[in-house]
């Protein structure tokens, strides 16, 4: 099987689903004629036409509201936020309309919101944010955050086929850096299932997105001293794989949560609460977290580096956790 980039995997997932199901269509800013700010949908308009690859005005609330309305009328829209940062301009449509409609009157809202997310790209405060925690707190939304090409493709398929609003966090840093094999047209990755990317019994790292590879890197360094650390890639954030986390922590007795999002109010806090509630007696050390600083994302590279989690920061936390 040939190697594809993470970006190509997203593209494959989208195009295969559009071929399979005529109710799938794309909408967003600059996605059609231009092919998208990151060129994810390059060539799509020629292939699927202007109606199914719809260039929209610069209006996130309209894009998300229109997507929800079309979803209620039998379509499966995939809306692109040019940067996940801009999703705030359409926040209300997601958290109050899309998320609550099925609960309120039983009509499904099958829509996907593509959110090019995250930093390590010198994007500054408004092109680098991790926005998942705002939506993690909203019942009625599903959240996925793939870290590999295979997951990017398989989760795109799952997101499009799901009957609920799904926020698909695609990491900008990984677009052209992550490469790997991908599955075929029917390899759908179930939402809610994690992937254990490294086995070990000394400690568990739970992470997702761009910090998966950083966590593996840190685990490899620590392994040279004889401690094998397990690394769980959540892949899905809502729902997240409680069973896999608990099973692993019950074996390792130590938990490090790593995420790129800022520390306070991040998803790591909820994971820590679940583990302390349901596996407290298995823990040999306090649960640790490595996350970004509780500040806006700074622009200049040295500050950005100081702000984000890195393999050395994860390694340091891991060593403290193992020594406890």
């Amino acid at each position: 099987m040939s190697q594809v980039t993470y970006l190509e995997a997203i593209r494959e997932g989208l195009s295969e689903e559009m071929e399979r199901d005529p109710s799938v269509f794309l909408l967003g800013e600059d996605i059609g004629a231009y092919g998208g700010a990151f060129k994810v949908t390059a060539g799509f308009q020629e292939r699927f036409g202007q109606q199914r690859v719809l260039d929209t005005p610069l209006a996130e609330s309209a894009i998300l509201g229109v997507a929800a309305g079309a979803a209620l009328r039998g379509y499966r829209p995939v809306a692109e936020m040019q940067f996940s940062d801009f999703i705030t301009s359409g926040f209300n449509q997601l958290v109050n309309f899309a998320a609550k409609t099925h609960y309120r009157y039983g009509e499904p809202v099958p829509m996907v919101v593509r959110c090019p997310t995250g930093g390590y790209i010198h994007g500054g405060p408004f092109h680098s944010q991790s926005t998942e925690a705002w939506f993690f707190h909203t019942p009625g939304l599903k959240l996925v955050a793939p870290s590999t090409p295979a997951d990017a493709k398989g989760l795109m398929k799952a997101a499009i086929r799901d009957n609920n609003p799904v926020l698909y966090f695609e990491h900008k840093f990984l677009y052209r850096r992550a490469k790997g094999e991908v599955g075929g047209a029917e390899d759908v990755i179930e939402i809610g299932k994690s992937h254990t990317v490294r086995r070990g019994d000394a400690a568990t790292i739970v992470t997702y997105g761009a910090t998966v590879s950083l966590s593996v890197e840190a685990a490899e360094v620590v392994a040279r001293d004889g401690s094998e650390v397990e690394v769980i890639d959540l892949r899905s954030l809502q729902p997240f794989d409680r069973e896999a986390i608990l099973e692993s922590v019950q074996r390792t007795g130590r938990l490090l949560i790593v995420h790129e999002d800022t520390l306070t109010g991040g998803i790591g806090g909820e994971i820590a609460a679940v583990v302390s509630d349901q596996a407290f007696e298995y823990l040999d050390a306090p649960i640790r977290r490595v996350a970004s600083l509780d500040t806006p994302v700074p622009f200049a590279p040295p500050m950005e580096e100081y702000f984000f989690p890195s393999a050395p920061k994860i390694e340091a936390a891991l060593r403290e956790l193992l020594a406890y």
């Binding site: 609330s61 309209a62 229109v66 309305g69 009328r73 039998g74 109050n96 099925h102």
Partner: protein, 334 residues
């Protein structure tokens, strides 16, 4: 102010509407009024869960617009559009259960008021955030355009709601895509307690259509036939693929924002002046003067409506609330 008793200012009957249509319009106006009378009395008896927001003064807008639609058209009523929901086919029992938060209501007691939609009736369920339903209904219009159904989609916004961002985003989106979309502004002079001069300074909200390159018309919102006619024209334009229309209806909210609001901030003279144009009696008087209806017909209709509402209210009062555990169900679609 129009004097409804002066024959030259009598409501003009649009071409294409026969006596049966006029009687239907009259029935739905009276039904709206009667339903809300019943809601107010249930509210006073403490039987209503939450607030009651009536459409007093807005009945002709709700009924007239919905009457211009076909079954295939998508409608998203807002909180003063009970009449539109009735025209579109929401059964009285269902609506009454919704206001009384019963387990068999369209939202199984999870939401109130007109916050429900129905795929078969082609209705969308509003949320409380005003303006949100504009982009959503535009999305429905996009879907109808893509499927080639020939259907249009219509929703409403108030004078106050016209200030929110989704008004602009939704209307502009619909205009750019030339969607079969109709936005009806119900300009009833007050947004809760805020008068229009604190909401906007333009002379006519309909003029905002210019900014989107679409037609904007202003009609007398107390004249159900004028509302019907303006909507019909917008519907035809939408079906021809020529794009959206903005309709501003001018009326007056004749009660408080909700039943908890005594609307003391509205000058008494203003209410009295508008009472002369009260939409339901205005239309009824016109039909009586034209001989479409006789006094005996009106009485018969009132009796029929009273019986229908009695049945609906009793049905709702006899219906149980949902199990508390229902609260935990249905967050996600299977």
């Amino acid at each position: 102010m129009t004097d409804i008793h002066r024959p030259e200012e009598l409501i003009q009957i649009p071409h294409g509407l026969g006596p049966e249509d006029l009687k239907k319009l009259h029935y739905f106006l009276k039904l709206t009024q009667g339903f809300e009378d019943r809601l107010i009395s249930l509210y006073k008896q403490g039987k209503i869960v939450g607030g009651v927001y009536t459409s007093r003064g807005n009945e002709a807008v709700a009924v007239g617009t919905a009457f211009a639609l076909e079954a295939r058209d998508v409608l998203c009523p807002m909180h003063r559009d009970l009449g539109a929901a009735l025209v579109k086919g929401d059964p009285l029992r269902e609506l009454m259960c919704q206001f009384l938060a019963r387990g068999n209501s369209p939202t199984r007691g999870k939401d109130s008021n007109l916050h429900h939609g129905n795929r078969e009736r082609n209705t969308l369920g509003m949320i409380s955030h005003l303006g949100t339903m504009i982009p959503v209904t535009v999305g429905a219009a996009l879907a109808e355009k893509m499927s080639g159904s020939g259907a249009v989609a219509l929703t409403y916004i108030g004078d106050g709601g016209s200030s929110i961002g989704d008004f602009h985003e939704g209307l502009n989106f619909a205009a750019v895509q030339r969607l079969p979309f109709i936005l009806v502004i119900e300009n009833n002079q007050y947004a809760f307690s805020t008068p229009n001069h604190m909401q906007f300074v333009c002379e006519r909200l309909a003029d905002r259509a210019l900014g989107y390159g679409i037609p904007g018309v202003q009609v007398d919102g107390t004249d159900v036939l004028a509302v019907y006619q303006a909507t019909k024209k917008a519907v035809e334009r939408g079906r021809r693929g020529e794009g959206p229309t903005l309709i501003e209806t001018i009326t007056m909210r004749l009660r408080g924002h909700s039943e908890a609001d005594n609307f003391s901030y509205v000058p008494k003279e203003l209410i009295e002046a508008w009472q002369a144009k009260e939409p339901v009696s205005r239309f009824e008087n016109a039909l009586l003067q034209r001989g479409v209806l006789k006094e005996a017909d009106v009485q018969a209709i009132e009796e029929r409506i009273a019986a229908e509402l009695e049945d609906a209210a009793q049905f709702a009062l006899d219906s149980p609330m949902a199990d508390p555990e229902e609260a935990a169900r249905g967050v996600f679609a299977p």
